[in-house]
Symmetry: C2
Subunit: 349 residues, 2 copies
């Protein structure tokens, strides 16, 4: 039986405290380290960049348990500043010691906006991506670090982020809406009139974090935004937007859009991509699912066009909102704004 | 990435608002109706009591979608007052109409403490059970209704509740703690020192709602409390306690207790029991799991004794706390107090 916490405007300090508190539990760190796609892609990217890292000074923004800092030392870094605001920094100190790297890695407890480093750096590494890429707004901190601490010509790992969208047909929604028609056969009570209420509740304006199955994706995904981490500004992150155009693979009922991201690491041979696409192995980011108010039928080659805009919520700057304007086939243009619910918490298995 | 909402003392009105808001979403009602053990046991119990219900006036406390009220009409009730404080009452009105029972069922929006019924009743039916039986304290409302509206000699469905406890060995915890020893092989980073931190986080003082597997239960469960709904008082619910004694089936590491309940319906032939035991088919209540601070080894016939006390939390009267004093084998007596975390929300699949 679930408890809904009502939305309310939070002051900045409280927002930050809630945000940083959320990383004091082991679960999120376990989930991140156990996410093999995430951790291994970072590891490969750092090791393949050892030519750029060897003998250099590195800044790890939001270091968490310090695993990326350790990869950087393994790639030959002279010095790594592992900046972490949460109490998990205490664990990072222990892990650095256990790996005998206390002479190379300095764990600094604090936000990157307030800490003072003894020198500038040649490399910034950070795993800053949230749900739908920008939830939690940690990229702002990376850009702040870049502008303040990165030497000209320095590198950022990853260096590019891209956002994609595709129409999908989520069968779980269909099943859940159909459920109310099955109650009469089971218990002799007609509850089919609940279907309208269920539609309003389920196809709401929350950003739902879900694993989208390949078969449920109805077109090639369309890229609608690209961020170059060397040049993008905090100001530009206040509104990340772009147009999209998709063509349906076949006949289906579109009931949602799915939004996901990739980030790219420059590498000497060819770039390494960390993808959260539903066509790739699952990551802990899964995909962001945005339900329409009602399903819309499409056939093969039906064109779905529109524009996506992502921006920080007014109530809490760390929460992302996604506004989608869209036209499906001959339908008139529609729009819907989605946000991450306050109580978005990972299910504890 | 999970957000922790800090505990704070809530005023009574706010507590009630949060509580009643939590039932405005379709998900909880879908889960309850789809819980076949729950819904079908109530249905059978009501139909088998048709001799006591036929021609009588019934009060349904916290009627939700009104399904129990409809069962009562199917059992021959002359009139059912379906009292529901949440907006789901609007759906109950529609469902009653759809089943052509608007002359028999009167849906009344309000709390049972404040509504005014035109007459006393012969039967009270209610599905009031929360996690660990008493979470959400809805039984208080049933007792209030009993004292105010139930005629002498009237019946309450269900009429009895019993609480059980058993030591368990949760293998998921073992796996999660072991995970940190596997990181070195995977990524070349020794993170085994995280195991202590993980133990503190995972074996914390939250009441965890989990499905306990039969194989993980280490002894016959012990009943530690029984509530007779005809006689128990609100005052007595402020501290529900009892002693227990279990004997271990075999060698294992106890890392938790599991607490669950049954409720019993009187029936003309033999009583009908709705059980949430791990030995019975799963219900949406699952079991309440209480983790010890550290695992304790037991062998066959090791005696586990103790006392459980359940009481409403000081911060929020609707939240339950469970205090367990226990002795495992030759170990010295220990105690730990558990509570349901504020953000306890059902995982949305």
């Amino acid at each position: 039986m679930s408890h809904v916490v009502k939305k309310r405007k939070l002051d900045k300090t409280r927002q930050d405290r809630l945000y940083f508190d959320s990383y004091t539990d082991v679960t999120i760190h376990e989930e991140m380290i156990a996410d093999h796609v995430r951790t291994n892609t970072y590891r490969m990217a750092i090791l393949r960049n050892s030519e750029s890292i060897r003998g250099k000074v590195v800044l790890d923004v939001g270091a968490g348990t310090g695993v990326l800092s350790i990869f950087c030392v393994q790639a030959g870094a002279k010095k790594v500043y592992a900046v972490e605001a949460c109490s998990i920094a205490e664990q990072a100190v222990k892990i650095v010691q256990q790996n005998n790297m206390e002479d190379k890695i300095e764990v600094i407890r604090g936000t990157v906006e307030t800490v003072d480093l003894p020198e500038k750096v040649e490399v910034i590494v950070s795993e800053w991506m949230g749900y739908a890429l920008l939830h939690e707004s940690m990229l702002n901190s990376v850009l702040y670090a870049r502008d303040k601490w990165l030497n000209p010509g320095g590198i950022i790992l990853p260096s590019k982020a891209e956002l994609y969208i595709a129409p999908i047909s989520d069968p779980v929604v269909e099943d859940r809406l159909h459920f109310w028609y099955t109650v009469k056969d089971q218990y002799g009570v007609d509850m089919s009139c609940m279907s309208d209420f269920a539609t309003r509740c389920i196809m709401n304006s929350d950003i739902t974090v879900n694993s989208v199955t390949v078969e449920d994706v109805l077109s090639h995904p369309a890229r609608f935004a690209e961020l170059d981490l060397h040049s993008v500004t905090v100001e530009e992150l206040r509104s990340v937007k772009g147009k999209f155009r998709c063509e349906s693979f076949g006949s289906a009922a579109v009931n949602a859009f799915c939004v996901y991201f990739t980030v790219t690491f420059p590498c000497p041979d060819k770039p390494l991509v960390l993808s959260t696409s539903p066509f790739k192995p699952e990551t802990h980011w899964k995909q962001a699912v945005l339900y329409l108010d009602a399903p819309v039928d499409v056939v093969q080659d039906t064109v779905v066009t529109g524009e996506v805009r992502m921006y920080p919520s007014e109530e809490s700057g760390r929460h992302i909102c996604i506004h989608v304007d869209y036209t499906i086939g001959e339908q008139k243009r529609q729009s819907k704004t989605f946000s991450i619910p306050d109580w978005s918490s990972e299910a504890q298995p």
